[in-house]
Structures are given as structure tokens and as C-alpha cells.
């Protein structure tokens, strides 16, 4: 089965991989990259099956780092090995990186201007709305079950109210969470 897979993907060039990820990196605003990648790679190009996509997605969510970048790395690796992973990650990051650096340069020049601050107040208000809605969309399930809600609250209290350093928060909450979700406890939820 492995051989057949290799055959099917041998025709995908590094340039094609780069172009696809560059496109997603350039058009995805305000998150939702995973949905774009699924649409392009699974539905349109059919480079991977939907099941395989879900497996790679869940690994990318388990590992530290940005989900979208991790998913690009795993997908690139799956298609063309290490070099595929490199071009996929570069593709997803480059467009945004250029825009961010451009904005950063402008911001450095105009940062102290009072009228810029009046514009920025609205930008910040919109940014918090964006972050809060993304948190809500991702967290709705976790916030509605007692066990996970308790862990959400504990993490928040340690981080924001007690102001512990992040490594300490993780060292405290992660073992507890792993205990609560240990494989044998699966049917407890």
C-alpha cells in the first residue's frame, strides 16, 4: 500500500507544493487556514484522503507550535519528504511575513502620531473580537463539559490571575489533565 501511495504522489513537484501553500498563506485572513488547506488539498487536488488529512491534523494539534504551520510541515513531508515540508512551511508563512514586516515598518514611522492612535484603538478592538470569537469557536466543546471546563478555568486562573510563568502552569495542569484523560478513563466523560 505504501508503494501505491508513493506512486500517486511522485508526480507532485516541490514547486506545486510551494504554490498551493503560498496561495493559502496569501488568501487566509483571520485564521481558518486549516479549512482552506482541507478544501485545496483534499477536495480540489486530492493529494491526500480526508481520513489521512484528519490524522495529520490531529498530530499537528497535539504538537506544540502553530497548528497551520505544523499541518503544512506534516503535509509537505507526506508529499515530498523533508524538502516538501520546508517548501510547504515557507509557502504558508511568506506572504503574511512580508505583509507583517511592511506594516511593522510603517508602524515604526507613524507609531507616535495621535491620529494613528485613534485608528489603532479600533484595530485593537477588532483584534480582540477576532481572538475572542476564534477562542469561542475552538473552545465551545471544552467549555460545555464539566471536566474540561474545570481545566480551562484552572489554567486561566494560574496564568492570568496568579500570573505564574507558563512552564509552571503547564507542569501543574498537564499531569492533572493527563490523569483525567488517561486511556482507561475514556468512558468516564
Amino acid at each position: 500500500m505504501n508503494d501505491r501511495r508513493l506512486e500517486a504522489t511522485a508526480t507532485i513537484s516541490l514547486r506545486q507544493i510551494f504554490a498551493q501553500f503560498l496561495f493559502v498563506g496569501a488568501i487566509s485572513f483571520g485564521g481558518g487556514i486549516v479549512a482552506y488547506l482541507r478544501e485545496l488539498l483534499v477536495t480540489r487536488r486530492q493529494w491526500v484522503s480526508s481520513d489521512e488529512f484528519m490524522v495529520l491534523l490531529s498530530i499537528s494539534q497535539t504538537m506544540p507550535g502553530l497548528n497551520a504551520v505544523n499541518l503544512s510541515i506534516l503535509m509537505g513531508d507526506r508529499l515530498r519528504g523533508g524538502r516538501g515540508a520546508l517548501v510547504a512551511a515557507l509557502g504558508i508563512l511568506l506572504p503574511g511575513a512580508c505583509v507583517v514586516l511592511g506594516i511593522g515598518t510603517l508602524y515604526g514611522i507613524h507609531g507616535d502620531h495621535p491620529s494613528a492612535d485613534r485608528l489603532l484603538a479600533g484595530v485593537m478592538a477588532a483584534a480582540i473580537a477576532l481572538l475572542a470569537t476564534v477562542t469561542w469557536k475552538l473552545g465551545r466543546r471544552a467549555l460545555c463539559a464539566t471536566k474540561s471546563l474545570a481545566l480551562v478555568l484552572l489554567t486561566f486562573v494560574c496564568m492570568s490571575l496568579l500570573k505564574w510563568p507558563l512552564y509552571l502552569v503547564l507542569a501543574t495542569v498537564l499531569p492533572l489533565a493527563l490523569f483525567l484523560y488517561r486511556p482507561s478513563a475514556k468512558n468516564a466523560e
Binding site: V100, S115, V169
Partner: protein, 171 residues
Amino acid sequence: MITLIQLAGVFSMLSLLAVGGGSAVLPEMQSLLEQYFQISQSEFVKAYGIGQLAPGPNMLVVLIMGQLVAGLAGALVVAVAFFLPSSLLCLFAGRLWLRIGECPWRLAVQSALEPISIGLMCSGVYTIANEALTGWRSALIALIVGVLLLRSKINPVLLIFAAAAASYFLF
């Protein structure tokens, strides 16, 4: 040079601590940037806000943080330090995982990380909101944008521009 090494240290640590996505390390990033590089909370939140105008992963805003600290060199150092460690880890751990196959503990780790990363994201919301919501006007703008984000399919960048225009006239 010392600054660049410090930047690399801080952001490669954040890279490996970013469980469940980049937004999870926002509060930690803010406190470390204040502690080591004297970036105030207000500068941090402004930079975060304008960073949302860019496409792609929203944590690309770390490049602006690097730029604030040490110019273009700072941005490049931060880019490598923030994206390389977690990417390499994911590449090799992912290969290992696919070879071993699905085991019950991977699912346990994933379920355990989900509420933690949501908790950290809530902390991120709290950190940004403390600075971004300064009164009824910014709260009103945030509320309207939030409702539109949930109820419509308007491109978020257009909403950010509209919010900027609205605040220009309101403030």
C-alpha cells in the same frame, strides 16, 4: 548582539511551549517582552492588533515584536526562533507517530491539551482585552465586530478597516 541572542532564546522557548496553537503563548510573550526588552503592554497590544491585518497564521505578528526590539535583524531572528524548533519537533515526532500508529495515549494527550490550550487562549483574550478595551466606545466596536464575525462571512480584514474608521470618528 546580546539582544538578538536573548530574542532567540525567548522565542525558541515560546515555540516549544505553544501547546494547542500560537495564541496560547500570548500572555507569556507579553510578560517576557516587558521583562527583557521593555516593550510595554500597550505597545504589545497595538502591535498584535495591526498584525491581524496580515494574511496567514495570525502569530506572524511575532515578527513585529522582533522588529520593535531589534529592527529587521530582530524580525529575522524571531522568525527562525519561533517557527523552527516546533516545526522540527513536529516533523520528527510526526514521522515517529505515523510509524507507531494510533495509540490510546496520543488521544489522551490530545484531549488533555485541548482544555489547557483553550484556558491559555482565554488568558490571551484577557491580556489583550485589558489594553484594547478602554471604554464603552472600544467595547461597542468589539461587540459589533464579534457579532459580525460569528453571524456573517465578511472578510475579517474589512471588519478591521471598518473598526479603524469607526474609531477615528468616535474617539
